[in-house]
Amino acid sequence: MSRAALLVLADGRFPAGGHAHSGGAEAAVKAGRITDAVSLEQFCRGRLHTSGAVAASLAAAAALGVDPRELDRAADARTPSPALRLVARRLGRQLVRAARATWPHPELDELAHQFPKGAHQPVALGTAARAAGLGPQDAAYCSLYEGVSGPATAVVRLLGLDPFDATAVLARLAPALDRAAQDAVEAGQRALSDGPEALPARSAPLLEIGAEAHAKWPVRLFAS
């Protein structure tokens, strides 16, 4: 694996559309559930252990070479909110576009061909990691980190939260993120040997409900 390639894929400026999304933070801010750095950290921990763990396991499984069509179905089954499914596919499509230009690879071409409107983002991420010569642990780390750095960045814009405080939140989450990445790799390996039903199916109902409400707001800063 190339550590430098991992930095390219994990960079928040990697042009794959993530900047327009808050990872549910905008809905949580509006509902009064995120008001400061402490509640941002709680929100991020919640994400990390629910939808974050599922996404990272999918990404690790895709990076291990599990069939993307099966993983995409598994992702649908683990995403009750239609709004979140749409967002995940849109971000997956944008990621595949950026990855094809960055690391041309037949598996990315095949994914774009099979899913012209986008596969779920973690499936695209795992395939992009393969194309970049990265492994399941790298894919899991990228998925988990983006799952918490997206909300942290968004809350800086939404609340005017001190950017140093937001970054300190991410640093405090690092040990939990390390453990979650290891769990995700193990889940990915189980999916490789036993099939995608071995993937975790944890959910965060408030994220799902918040996403459905947010998608109907007439005025919002973020697309999700």
Binding site: P15, G17, G18, R97, A101, D109, A112, P116, L221, A223
Partner: protein, 225 residues
């Protein structure tokens, strides 16, 4: 999984002038500029001027609402399926320059869904004077400023004023009311832009959007030549 290589998926290279089926894609023209300078009004006027002779569509980049798309829909300048809104996550310049993926998706979907298009206008959300479009997204860009925003803007320059393929100084009818010196604005703009064209426009005047529409026709003729 299959490792077969297909060439009929979406293009890997966004700026490619051809669609996956080999046909020439639509010319894409970006319109950028500060908040309130008249970008949406110019887009609406261009649609009215060109819709009989061209197959066209519009992508708007609203900052935090769908107001611009809603305005174009309400004005019925084009059928609704030809207008798409992209959400920009509080960063309109990112969506047109640093991370153009959502906009590329929008222009490609328009071409796929409403059939062959000659022209797609991509309107930026109102932003600052440094906001310009990526060459990976548009083939040419128009920067729209207005006389009420301060008649020193052409002199100050900046990437939009200096490098846009066409600079439009809008709302010239307001110049006497806001104390703006039109001749000075035009002279400053020309000094900053070398050979690049400048149009002074009032959409309320008799010429309306005609000069900009003529410039668009020239670009289109060069594109299809």
């Amino acid at each position: 999984m299959s490792l077969g290589h297909h060439h009929d998926g979406p293009a890997a290279v966004p700026a490619d002038a051809h669609r996956p089926d080999g046909t020439r894609r639509a010319l894409r023209i970006g319109l950028g500029g500060p908040v309130g300078s008249g970008k949406t009004a110019t887009v609406a006027a261009l649609c009215r001027a060109l819709r009989e002779e061209l197959s066209l569509a519009v992508v708007t980049n609203d900052i935090y609402t769908r107001e611009d798309a809603a305005f174009l829909l309400r004005e019925a300048v084009l059928p609704p399926e030809r207008i798409t809104a992209v959400e920009t996550g509080a960063c309109p310049h990112t969506a047109i320059r640093d991370d153009i993926s959502a906009n590329l998706e929008a222009v490609e979907d328009l071409e796929d869904e409403v059939g062959p298009l000659d022209l797609i206008l991509v309107e930026s959300g109102g932003d600052n004077l440094t906001a310009t479009f990526s060459k990976g997204l548009v083939d040419a860009q128009i920067f729209v400023i207005d006389v009420a925003g301060g008649d020193d803007i052409p002199r100050k320059g900046g990437p939009g004023v200096t490098t846009a393929d066409l600079l439009v100084v809008n709302k010239t009818d307001l110049a006497p009311h806001v104390g703006s010196d039109l001749a000075r604005m035009e002279a400053d703009a020309k000094a900053n832009r070398g050979e690049l064209p400048v149009v002074l426009q009032s959409l309320r005047g008799e010429r309306g959007v005609r000069d900009v529409a003529d410039w668009v026709r020239e670009r289109l003729a060069a594109w299809t030549a």
